[in-house]
Amino acid sequence: MSAKNHKLFILRPGDKFEPLNLVLGENYREEITFLVLPGVTAEIDLNAELSGAGAEVKIRGLFLCCSDEKVSIRTNIRHSVPSTSSSQLICGIAGGQSRASFAGRIVVVQDAQKTEAIQTNRNILLSDSARIETHPELEIYADDVQCSHGATIGRLSEEEQFYMRSRGIPEGEAKILQMISFLAPVLEGREDKEALMQQIEKSLRQMV
């Protein structure tokens, strides 16, 4: 197995994201992580074609919106040969009057048997005037594949918040704990998880 390539993008206010177009050959493994911090309006455009057996792409992303940001995320994964895999986990939190959208396309061509593809998009709305849209789109033409997708949009549980507050954890802290636990899976397994989480926590403190 060849080594894995890691790409980490941290978007702060004013940053732009150049569309990423990857072609992954045999046994080529790529991991892409993006963190969209509050105050960023951006389009994240990720395209990957898995064109050699054993190719693997892992996409991890999170976005935090709290005012009038517009974040649009598009992923487009094409499994064009047998025995490749892709996994996507995108978690977002939207408050204020922000707008966020996720469109995730996965194409598995007819002879790309033994494809594994997972796509998960989880979202939390913090306000009534924020909007989140999620559009999973799977086109699967092969029959021996393992593909799954899931999308959720929810709110922070008030029941959990009351439980924490009844133990003396202030409401804002309770929300931060909830949001950290919601976002943590995005950074799971990374060596720099703690350091990145600290940056995220700082941002969350501005949001509550």
Binding site: F162, Y163, R167, G168, I169, E171, L177
Partner: protein
């Protein structure tokens, strides 16, 4: 005579426009353990919810003073800092938050509010281990997500563990004994008894007499249809055990 720790006067409260508590009066002094017994639907859990400030419950009239303060004007976290603790009938699962992180946040907030310096990691860990041993919880639980995948007994033990960590002046145990086997019940009872002191009080809400065999109350109140219909000493427990709530 000592001053009241908690004084409830003419409390009317409900949820969603429906009145559940229809005039409660209660006076709890430091060191006293009160049992509130009653059939299902009497308003026992509503009383616990109102005292801890659960959102959604409305107090329509009456007053509650705690340590001389207007309890109903305090946020749930402020009530906790002032030493009020509710052991939940249905403890809440918090996926992704470990018991250790949960308790660290709680203890940090409590100490900060009291103007005390934050515990160091070592100090916190020492307290955590000590209190876990106290309720016979395996130290592995510190890393488990709060109540996620816990058995009924483990959840209740976790409540008593939190109570021991926070060392409250007034503990309200809402049906803490329901669904417990004898061993778990004893652990809960030992926990409550060990925290007894001349300054600390407890309200035990239950519809069984089971826990009250191990934790002997000073006063027993019968709550029925939103009102306290009878009050007495510990002998009331036997009356209820033999005759049920019918005659009240």
């Amino acid at each position: 005579m000592k001053e009241s720790l908690l004084r409830i006067e003419g409390l009317h409260a409900g949820i969603g426009g429906k009145e559940i508590l229809k005039g409660i009066d209660l006076d709890i002094r430091p060191g006293e353990i009160h049992a509130i017994m009653g059939p299902n639907g009497a308003g026992k859990s509503t009383l616990g919810a109102v005292l801890t400030g659960k959102p959604g419950y409305e107090v329509t009239s009456g007053r509650v003073s705690y340590m001389g303060r207007d309890l109903l004007a305090m946020a749930p976290e402020e009530r906790s800092w002032a030493g009020l603790f509710l052991s939940f009938q249905y403890p809440v699962e918090i996926p992704g938050v470990t018991i250790s992180a949960f308790m660290k946040a709680a203890i940090d907030a409590k100490r900060q509010n009291a103007g005390l310096p934050a515990f160091t990691g070592a100090e916190f860990l020492k307290l955590l281990r000590e209190k876990m041993a106290f309720v016979k919880m395996s130290p592995d639980f510190a890393k488990r997500e709060v109540n996620v995948g816990f058995s009924g007994g483990e959840k209740k033990r976790n409540e008593i563990f939190q109570m021991a960590m926070l060392d409250p002046a007034l503990s309200i145990l809402d049906e803490t004994d329901s669904g417990l086997d004898v061993d778990a019940l004893k652990i809960v009872a030992d926990g409550v008894n060990a925290l007894r002191s001349p300054e600390k009080s407890a309200i035990i809400i239950t519809h069984y007499h089971k826990l009250l065999e191990y934790v002997v109350p000073d006063k027993v109140h019968i709550l029925k249809a939103g009102k306290i219909v009878a009050s007495g000493g510990r002998e009331m427990v036997d009356v209820i055990e033999n005759n049920g709530f019918e005659k009240f």
